[in-house]
């Protein structure tokens, strides 16, 4: 058998749809749900920066609602939220309650 050159080797597995993970909704993993309290929000965007799941929507530099399709309910955003006058702008509530 003729030995194969590198151009004959298969390229391995290729994914041609960048960001296709968005088709997989991770929101069902949640046991706790973050709830946004806009009146306590100072728009610091720390929650946005620290969310490991890109589940906080921001438009034109302003925070909007949570993206519950993907939020896994870790609670990092609530922990890090400074809120206004000691009143958090994110509270965690148990799912299904």
């Amino acid at each position: 058998m003729k030995p194969k050159g590198w151009k004959d080797l298969p390229p391995g597995s290729v994914i041609t749809r960048p960001g296709s993970a968005t088709e997989f909704k991770t929101g069902s993993w949640r046991t706790f749900r973050p709830v946004w309290v806009p009146e306590n929000c100072i728009q610091c965007l720390f929650c946005w920066m620290y969310c490991p799941d890109m589940a906080i929507k921001v438009k034109d530099g302003k925070r909007e609602e949570f993206d519950y399709d993907y939020c896994k309910g870790c609670g990092i955003c609530a922990r890090e939220c400074p809120g206004k006058k000691g009143q958090k702008a994110i509270i965690m509530v148990e799912e299904g309650k």
Partner: protein
């Protein structure tokens, strides 16, 4: 011009690492990736060593990456990206591409400190145009929390279990950041995602500097650290405040500490919320906690001296 370093401006950028990835809830690693991608205004091609980040960001036909990304094996993320970089250099010479592309390799601590170490050391020595990012969660997490050379002293892992005789890992962690600095490459740094401005600044700086660069970033893993899902950022902050994970950089051989805590906190603040260190707080094990603190103190004093010498050399 680079995007202004404010959360407001950064938040207007597209997420190049998307939701729908399958890292555990509250994992620190995706925050590191997000900050690196936000830092860059250049197109990036990345390689990824096998590990949690790679396994959970790319499952069958689902990928969370919106940049060209390549996974090869556990031990060769640096070699792989060095090959990609060489290929692009050749294509540029041939006039087939003209963009300025940046090359980044991501590896976990196992993939960096241990199994991928020789390929990383080689790529750095050859002087490739690349930035290596180690996301350090202090164990082989993806395969079930086995100890690595990045695992801290005393930590309970499945291969260094804390029992009645042996109290978790018996060796202190290896100082990988220093080892990389010893390669004499133009830029080496240590960063933490809680200090996002410092981290993004370092990523940017590293991407601008020519030649090989290495940044070690702390990346909490609540599964392996036996902590709660909401404390990744809090623990990163504690790691810096206790000087367990000092923020510093070594640029052209000159060491600079980027943040000196106003008040150096006792290392308990970092250890206590983590179940992997629970036994350090049991009666009779005070010596181990003391030993841990001494290790941290010794390294912090050494680092401060190194940074001071750098200042006096300049003057």
């Amino acid at each position: 011009m680079a995007t202004t370093l404010s959360l407001k401006e950064l938040s207007k950028k597209e997420d190049l690492f998307t939701h729908g990835h399958r890292m555990c809830s509250g994992c620190g690693a995706p925050i590191v990736v997000k900050q690196l991608l936000l830092a860059s205004d250049y197109p990036i091609i990345a390689s990824n060593a096998t590990g949690c980040l790679e396994v959970s960001s790319c499952i069958s036909e689902y990928t969370a990456w919106k940049i060209p990304w390549i996974h090869n094996a556990f031990e060769n993320a640096a070699a792989t990206i060095s090959g990609v970089e060489t290929m692009c250099r050749s294509l540029k010479k041939q006039g087939k591409i003209d963009k300025e592309i940046k090359f980044v390799a991501f590896g976990g601590d196992g993939g960096t400190y241990d199994i991928g170490f020789q390929s990383l050391s080689g790529a750095m020595e050859r002087g490739h145009e690349m930035l290596y990012i180690c996301y350090d969660n202090g164990a082989y997490m993806n395969t079930g929390i086995q100890r690595s050379s990045a695992t801290p002293l005393g930590a309970d892992t499945t291969t260094s279990p804390a029992g009645s005789v042996i109290k978790g890992k018996t060796q202190p962690r290896k100082n990988m950041t220093r080892i990389m600095a010893a390669h004499g490459i133009p830029y080496v740094a240590q960063a933490s995602p809680a200090h996002w401005r410092d981290a993004v600044t370092k990523f940017r700086k590293a991407l601008e500097i020519k030649g090989p660069k290495f940044i070690n970033v702390l990346a909490p893993c609540n599964r392996g650290w036996r902590s709660s899902t909401d404390d990744a950022i809090l623990l990163c902050r504690a790691a810096v405040d206790t000087c367990y994970w000092p923020l510093y950089e070594v640029e052209d051989g000159v060491t600079r500490i980027n943040s000196i805590p106003k008040e150096k906190k006792p290392v308990e603040e970092f250890l206590k919320p983590q179940g992997r260190f629970k036994h350090l707080f049991a009666p009779g094990n005070e010596w181990l906690l003391k030993l841990f603190q001494e290790e941290v103190d010794r390294e912090w004093e050494r680092l401060k001296k190194e940074a001071q010498e750098a200042v006096s050399d300049k003057s």
